[in-house]
């Protein structure tokens, strides 16, 4: 190869720089393109007002309602129906609510409690639990 030594040095340097590009891509891992293409994480559901209703076939009854392990509503009622509005998330996958409670007296037959969940701007969803004296169930509303 002829030409000035300076020109040759520049050409060698350029060739080395060109080689560096694939080398950098290789050392940064194969998963990088997939990461660049990944869409942002799906946003979580926001808190909104959810109306809750409990209807018992026997009174008085006591109850405790848990969402994500925390008590969101509890009490004892002489009335068959009680209502409350709470602020909570209601994602499209639904929610699990743990309903515990019971009646002071054993009845001759089983009694039931119906929990109605009404997320804002959505249709009501209902689930019932049946028991003799005490109940403790996880109810899924979707």
């Amino acid at each position: 190869m002829r030409g000035s030594p300076l020109l040759r040095a520049v050409l060698v340097l350029a060739a080395l720089l060109l080689l560096l590009i694939p080398l950098l891509r290789l050392t940064q891992g194969t998963a990088a393109p997939a990461l660049a293409d990944a869409s942002p994480a799906e946003p979580r559901a926001k808190q909104a007002t959810v109306h809750l209703e409990l209807l018992s076939t026997r009174v008085p009854f006591h109850f405790e309602l848990r969402y994500l392990g925390k008590v969101i509503w509890q009490g004892e009622s002489m009335e068959a129906q009680v209502k409350k509005a709470v602020a909570m998330e209601f994602p499209k996958e639904g929610v699990d609510l743990e309903l515990k409670g019971g009646w002071r007296e054993d009845g001759a037959s089983v009694a039931a409690v119906k929990l109605t969940v009404i997320p804002s701007d959505q249709q009501p969803r209902e689930k019932s639990v049946w028991a003799q004296k005490e109940f403790d169930e996880v109810l899924t509303f979707q």
Partner: protein, 296 residues
Amino acid sequence: MKLLASFLMVSLAFLFQAQGSEKVRISTFSTILTEVAQRVGGDRVKVTGLVKPGIDPHEYDPTPGDLRQVAKSQIVLASGKHIEGYLTKLKESAGVKGELISVGDQFPSLMMKPEEEKAGGPKEIEDPHWWHSVENVERAVKIVRDELDKVSPSDKAVFDKNAEVYLAELEGLKKWVKSKVAELPRDKRKLVTSHDAFQYFARDFGFKIYAIEGISTQDEVSNRKVAEIIETIQKQGVKAIFLESIENPKVIKEITRETGATVGGTLYADGLGEGATGTYDGMMRHNVTTIVDALK
């Protein structure tokens, strides 16, 4: 004459006692079924667990000693759903005289795609990890109880009582699992594990599974699959991913480095562990607590 009669009576009494104390010999190929057999059989059975805790049932191969043990068993309990690939060969070579029960084959299966579809191979295979559903273990208890009742009818009352106690405990466990899982929002129930073993659990408790491997720990993990998982973790906003007791965690560690997700802990996917996870109750509580606390 009187002496002879007494001698005969004593001999007969000894004979009946000896027959009564003879335990039912059971061999099992699953740590879960070892517990089920012991709990239901109580002191009326002698259970030999051939697959020990910590051994990967996907890779287990019976030894000549195991074959001898199987040959002299009255009941042989296998997990079924094709996890024991050696079962047909075992029946022929060990000369199984007792009942060979493939417990998992007696209740419905979830199906899944094999990790790599082979030409002429099945498009779907049965998921063998049925014990991650407590309801399936309850079914297994009833199957083992009925089999023991058949093999040793004189001990039926003992087996039925033991099964009743054990089933009540399993109901309690099921309730606890439901309550614990309810602590986790349903939109965060995304499980990334190092092999696809938690379908039954996912079905029962509303989880979505993203397995890095396919069905078996023998499967190789492809770079394409790892890239897909990384993309999914990013997209779904998964907080933690899980290792397994028997797994090489290298791939998972690489994924956490790329995504920023943490390692949520070690799960027992293929059977019981040791210590606190050496019982079905302990294993389930460990797995569920690990999953829920890491994803919260």
